[in-house]
Symmetry: C2
Subunit: 383 residues, 2 copies
């Protein structure tokens, strides 16, 4: 169900021939109203794919009536021809659904520098439009998968309203955002400005704190559409809380499906002078290949944690840092404390806790370990 | 010969029992004068090892008469006890050589959080002092190896003067500096202030642009000592040029011996608005695990190059970037150009050229690919 769980949405996922395997590769999600309010966040990468360049214009007025997504090619660095393909896809959706092209967000994912067949895409849009249904959520979620091993979906219920979401992404996960495409739907009545506030608050503590491999994508897009079909306007705080739950659950599904990972690592930074400091420290550890390789090797190498903390500008005393792994305080006051051999890293879930003793703020950043399988998948992806 | 090639220096390398293999693990280098001018640069990591904390005080007056280095343990995050060990080692060197402890730089390398046996270290210093000789350079270079597979040495000759150098490091290579210990000697007559200027100029374009795995060490130290024994004062420009050659050759030796690497990658950024921009762009590509894994897989994946460039703040037009790999311009004006299948990545040496078209500055950053062997070595190092 996922994105079609809230009232007012129909969706479809079809095989347009972009994937050589014949699997589903094109998804269409349409908001049937009565409201068309929306909010979207894009990759912070300055080198953006054509669909992002197009969609940035689409979302400016806060109205989005449909999202069309394809896997099998990112349509990034494909020049003017590639932009025209994106435009043609939006026009085709508009024609099929009976809306304006300027209300159609386009998302693509796959290899950079690869032009998709415009013919295949346009035919796929026709097939998807013909197949739109209130049961189409699962098909749409399947159609956006690339190296994902499972589709990612979630539904959260409010008091008479719902939020549904789907995501794709399995590596190249880094802020802001992870390499991922996300569509979120709700039947609550929420004006675009409030959707924007809520979406930024929710992504800030979920997708933006997912840092699987430090690599930022060119195509990331998170689009939230509100149909208003429930006729209920929830308190913004309630809506934001539910939306944050949706984003966090999707982020955790992405983390668990990261390419070749053996461990999910939650790095929590305590007692920071600011939340920004806590995030900076967490992210620096999440990006240490040495630390990530150690976790793969089930080695509680806290020296590599401190070496990463030391590269940041956060407020702390280098001689007074505490570090725990899976709750064992292996380092207190920057010296060895509990025996590292007490740390059992055989389970997939690993926690690292860093106490900066510099304030009262905290944050958690999530990452994966660095494995042989990661190297294998990413050395063979385009060949 | 290396560090004992210039007149006025004696050195030794001995087995002090710190390495379980019984290999040489303690080196001593002594400047016999008549001058004792010096310059040193340390890691920028805020979490510094005890030997760095000690040596930072030693170098303040520009006088260094001896450097003692041990492998087998980094003496980092070993608390007050660890600092006292460093101090005791400096005192022992001073006593044996007949100088003041405050003129003795101490360097350690190995696992973080591991205390070395003070007894073994002090006995090792006695043995090294007894074995000091003008032929001791090679033994000293061997004694500082950790996961290095070869010792790193270089000699450059000026007009009647020489510079010699030795280095250790094989991974955890990142600015500023790479994980490495470097001792450089010269018999030129150069005052400490000029040595400092020359050393900073030389390291800025050599060690500081080596970024093997993005991880910054806690122990990096580069110490340059001038004995004045040649009685020749070269023009500072000549000396700086020779010193830059020494640092660059040692940096390339470190790059070639990086843990588990299959390729040496030189990333050159052309036509940048500033040298800082060029370095920022080069470094962002050097830190992309996706790009590095692609090179390991012999896949000329230029999309991952542009995706990394896009994460920087450098001046450029995202729609007008050119990228070459091994001289093949696979991307022009941010669109596909020459056929990537023309790029042969079978040789160890790989060049990536990025034209920002934003100015007249340039820089080269060096890195390695991301391999199974890297993951293996770094997941098993401390266990």
């Amino acid at each position: 169900m996922s994105i079609t769980a809230p009232a007012g949405f129909v969706a479809a996922g079809v095989a347009a021939g972009l994937k050589s395997t014949g699997a589903k590769d094109l998804a269409l999600v349409v908001n049937q109203g009565p409201t068309y309010d929306s909010a979207t966040v894009f990759t912070a990468n300055r080198c953006k794919a054509n669909p992002v360049l197009w969609s940035q214009e689409v979302v400016k007025d806060g109205v989005v009536r449909a999202v069309v997504l394809n896997s099998g090619g990112a349509n990034c660095y494909t020049g003017a021809e590639g932009f025209q393909t994106t435009h043609a896809v939006a026009e085709k959706v508009a024609e099929q659904v009976g809306i304006g092209a300027i209300d159609v967000v386009v998302c693509s994912t796959g290899l950079i520098g690869l032009a998709n067949s415009r013919e295949d895409l346009l035919a796929g849009v026709e097939a998807a439009a013909a197949g739109l249904s209130a049961d189409g959520g699962a098909d749409a979620a399947a159609a956006i998968m690339t190296t994902d091993t499972v589709s990612k979906q979630v539904v959260v219920e409010g008091a008479g309203w719902k939020i549904g979401g789907m995501a794709k992404g399995a590596g190249m996960l880094a802020p802001q955002l992870a390499t991922m495409l996300v569509v979120i739907t709700t039947d609550a009545v929420v004006p675009a400005a409030d959707l924007d506030t809520a979406l930024r608050a929710a992504t800030r503590v979920s997708f933006d704190r997912l840092d699987s491999d430090g690599c930022m994508s060119t195509n990331d897009t998170v689009t939230l559409m509100a149909s208003g079909a429930s006729q209920i306007t929830p308190p913004l705080a309630d809506f934001t809380q539910a939306l944050t739950q949706v984003c966090t659950e999707l982020a955790m599904q992405l983390l668990k499906d990261a390419e070749g990972a053996d461990h999910e690592i939650a790095i929590t930074v305590l007692n920071a002078a600011s939340e920004d400091d806590a995030v900076e420290v967490g992210r620096s550890v999440a990006r240490s290949n040495l630390f990530k390789a150690a976790v793969f090797g089930k080695d509680p190498n806290w020296g590599r944690v401190l070496a990463s903390v030391g590269t940041t500008q956060a407020a702390f005393d280098p001689a007074d840092l505490d570090v725990a792994m899976n709750g064992i305080w292996v380092c207190r006051a920057s010296t060895p404390d509990q025996d590292p051999s007490l740390v059992d890293l055989s389970a997939r879930e690993v926690t690292v806790t860093i106490d900066l003793k510099a304030g009262a703020e905290r944050a958690t950043v999530w990452t994966n370990d660095l494995t042989h399988a990661y190297v294998h998948e990413n050395s063979a992806y385009s060949s």
